[in-house]
């Protein structure tokens, strides 16, 4: 699909994805300018903004570059992201001295999980295998290996902890990479457009919730888990994201208007619950950030929180409503 924009007397012809990248670039530039001006105007208050923006540039270049390069590059990038997130989780979560081998097996599952995206020639439809591999077989093998090693105290808790980490950090995030295997003809902006839209919408939801919360926030929504979140922020963010989703869906997805409305309403809710679930886990573990890898943001898992819930739902609903491939 190509769009023609009339801009100051010029006709700009571009694909939705190009315009999307241009919009992200404009946001990055605006944020970078703000990071230079605001700390000078109110010293001390915006010290976080500089490193935060620098990290955003790196994230945007890595993800944007991978989307342009294609599904292989995207799968490799998200495999790396999954590994880093899982390592953060398993570093902080309680494990036992005997579980070092189990942790290594969990890392190995990253290779197989993402390997399935490449395994066309091995299976008639590797997507079918992907669906069951981590939830069923990693689950079973991990428990069996742990029983084989033989320490029984804390067995059930550790089995649960490790599998929770693998599903959230590897299986759920892997859907983003698998979505890149949608045939380009099935979506108006190709497979990359579908992935771009998911990432854009979840990040927009985070930002919109934050802005509405700052402007109107009064009533705490989850005082024990995430005390900064408010009903006003959550509802404002939800309406904003749902609206933007509905308006932009025809340019990035093959969804009918009714289906776009349903997904627009559900994706921000999934994002919100991903966010507070990760907050609950971090509180349980006694940390604020999952690592210090991304300056100004914290860890990889801190940045992924809403995606861990939104990505599988986005994938499954798209597959159910519109995409023939899945």
């Amino acid at each position: 699909m190509e769009l023609t924009l009339h801009w100051f007397g010029w006709d700009v012809i571009a694909t939705p994805l190009t315009l999307g990248f241009a919009a992200v670039l404009a946001l990055l530039l605006a944020g970078t300018i703000a990071a230079f001006i605001l700390p000078a105007m109110q010293p001390g208050k915006w010290s976080d903004l500089g490193p935060r923006m620098r990290s955003w540039w790196v994230i945007a270049l890595l993800v944007g570059g991978a989307l342009v390069l294609g599904w292989q590059a995207t799968a490799v990038l998200f495999a790396l992201i999954s590994f880093l997130a899982l390592k953060e989780f398993l570093t902080l979560a309680p494990t036992r001295k005997e579980d070092r081998l189990i942790v290594l097996l969990a890392y190995l599952s990253v290779f197989v999980n993402y390997g399935l995206i490449f395994a066309d020639s091995l299976f008639e439809d590797s997507y079918q295998i992907y669906l069951v591999f981590t939830p069923v077989y990693v689950f079973l093998v991990m428990a069996a290996a742990m029983a084989w090693i033989g320490r029984t105290d804390g067995f059930l808790a550790t089995v649960g902890i490790v599998h929770w980490g693998v599903v959230v950090c590897v299986y759920n995030i892997g859907y983003i990479a698998f979505l890149m295997r949608t045939p380009d003809a099935e979506a108006p902006a190709g497979a990359a457009g579908l992935v771009f839209f998911l990432l854009f919408i979840t990040q927009l939801n985070d930002v919109a919730q934050y802005c509405w919360g700052k402007a109107l926030g009064r009533t705490k929504i989850t005082p024990k888990v995430s005390p900064n979140k408010t009903w006003e922020g959550a509802i404002g963010g939800w309406l904003t994201t749902a609206g933007v989703f509905y308006v932009l869906a025809p340019y990035f997805t093959p969804l009918a208007p009714m289906h776009a409305a349903i997904m627009g309403a559900l994706i921000p809710i999934a994002g919100f619950f991903g966010d507070i679930t990760m907050s609950a886990i971090k509180r349980d573990l006694g940390v604020k950030d999952t690592s210090r890898l991304i300056p100004g943001h914290g860890g990889v898992l801190d940045r992924l929180d809403s995606l861990t819930f939104a990505a599988p739902l986005y994938f499954h609903l798209l597959a159910y409503f519109a995409i023939e491939r899945f």
């Binding site: 570093t91 902080l92 979560a93 494990t95 036992r96 070092r100 942790v103 804390g154 690592s291 210090r292």
Partner: protein, 213 residues
């Protein structure tokens, strides 16, 4: 030539790899010494500790960084010895059984006199993973010899999980280094190591909780 290879090897291979496998989260990295003579003292659980510590410094300081390491382990002759001495840059030190007359710390003292930065593990051995043992007085004798050298305490967490003593498999976990304010020679061997130990134990509180049973 060798220094250039070491520097680029650290920048392009070792540091990115260490970041991928061990995360290298540093709290207070700006407190690390920027010039010698100086001593960096950390708790010791794993060979990975040395890699983590070396990666925290800017690579231009690499020629000055000298990990003090057990001769019976790292200086057994042959290629291993050459690699430890010239690539890692260790100063070998004899553990136990040294005669009363030769000064086991001579190599380390010379390095301080040359204005180098020593990396020492006062526990003297890796011990049980993620547990701190008694400190030896060597570091106090070094700083007595060179009182202008500040001793920067560092608490290292996580490396003992990645590669505990006697383990064959390396398992990636994030490691955290908490760097404290430097302390100076206070005139007493035992007083000094007690102070150093207390400082490192206090730094532990800033690291993320370690849940490992």
């Amino acid at each position: 030539m060798l220094q250039t290879i070491r520097r680029y090897g650290l920048m392009l291979i070792v540091r990115p790899l260490a970041r991928l496998l061990f995360g290298l989260d540093a709290i207070g990295a700006e407190k690390l010494p920027k010039q010698g003579p100086a001593i960096v003292a950390a708790n010791h659980n794993s060979h990975v500790d040395t890699i983590v510590l070396l990666c925290l410094f800017p690579s231009k300081l690499l020629p000055k960084l000298r990990p003090v390491a057990a001769a019976d382990h790292f200086d057994k002759g042959g290629f291993g010895s050459w690699f430890s001495r010239n690539i890692i840059g260790i100063i070998p030190i004899k553990r136990g059984g040294a005669s009363r007359h030769d000064d086991v710390l001579a190599g380390a003292k010379q390095a301080l006199a040359r204005g180098e930065i020593l990396v020492v593990f006062p526990e003297g051995s890796r011990g049980e993973p993620e547990e701190m043992t008694r400190f030896k007085t060597g570091v106090a004798r070094l700083v007595e010899f060179c009182p202008e050298a500040p001793v920067t305490p560092v608490y290292l967490q996580g490396a003992g999980r990645s590669l505990p003593k006697d383990a064959k498999l390396l398992v990636p976990f994030n490691c955290t280094a908490v760097i404290g304010d430097p302390l100076m020679w206070n005139g007493s061997h035992h007083g000094f190591i007690d102070e150093l130990r207390t400082r490192i134990e206090t730094l532990k509180e800033q690291a993320p909780p370690l849940r490992w049973r």
